[in-house]
């Protein structure tokens, strides 16, 4: 049963601390997306990768957020320094680079609380 996994599932940290969230995409998928869910904005795209190359990260605050794919089995989203307004659920999704969006599979999310 192939699934997208995300760690940690929950993270509580203090303002100013570095936060790293990890995602393991489904084996064989070549696109990875990071989304953030907040009460105010709903689900919003932060960044996405195809074949490990970043294609669009315009949704991310550039000064504090960074997303990388060190290899095909790991995607990371880092916040440094974290702020209370970053509190949200962060979802990773992976998919196949085909002509539809049906093949995006979401992980369970990382719930981040910045105090």
């Amino acid at each position: 049963d192939a699934r997208v996994t995300q760690t940690p599932r929950h993270k509580v940290t203090e303002m100013g601390q570095e936060v790293t969230m990890r995602c393991q995409p489904i084996l064989g998928h070549n696109t990875v997306f990071w989304y953030r869910q907040t009460m105010m904005q709903g689900l919003e795209l932060l960044a996405y990768f195809r074949n490990r190359a970043p294609l669009d990260d315009s949704g991310m605050p550039k000064d504090r957020f960074s997303a990388e794919m060190p290899d095909a089995t790991l995607a990371t989203l880092k916040i440094q320094p974290s702020e209370p307004r970053d509190s949200a659920v962060y979802f990773c999704a992976s998919g196949l680079d085909v002509a539809t969006a049906d093949t995006q599979y979401f992980g369970p999310g990382t719930r981040l609380t910045v105090l």
Partner: protein, 113 residues
């Protein structure tokens, strides 16, 4: 700016009746539309989709209707079941964005016995 809008935050329907969830979009470049279902503490899961070249797509109890001129789509669930209680997200994508999804804010559906 929210390009995909779900104006009803919540909906309550009796078991066996029809649930209709609505979604509006503003960007005419969107060519693919999807509905995702989300339970608490889980990620969204794909439910049904429709291409802009169609006006209807059906899958079992779920039907999505697309009205391109009105930039409106709807999800019909017939008959509704208590297990359908979840948050439903409407999403749209366009080919030149790698099929990244633009989501609405969701509608929480409650199906009561």
């Amino acid at each position: 700016d929210q390009q995909v809008k779900q104006n009803s935050p919540s909906l309550s329907v009796q078991e066996g009746r029809i649930s209709i969830l609505n979604c509006d979009y503003t960007n005419s470049m969107f060519d693919y539309f999807l509905w995702y279902k989300k339970y608490p503490a889980e990620g969204p899961t794909f439910l049904i989709s429709i291409s802009s070249i169609k006006d209807k797509n059906e899958d079992g109890r779920f039907t999505v209707f697309l009205n391109k001129s009105a930039k409106h789509l709807s999800l019909h669930i017939v008959p509704s079941q208590p297990g359908d209680s979840a948050v439903y997200f409407c999403a749209a994508s366009m080919p030149n964005s790698g099929y990244a999804l633009n989501f609405g804010k969701g509608t929480s559906l409650l199906v009561t016995p």
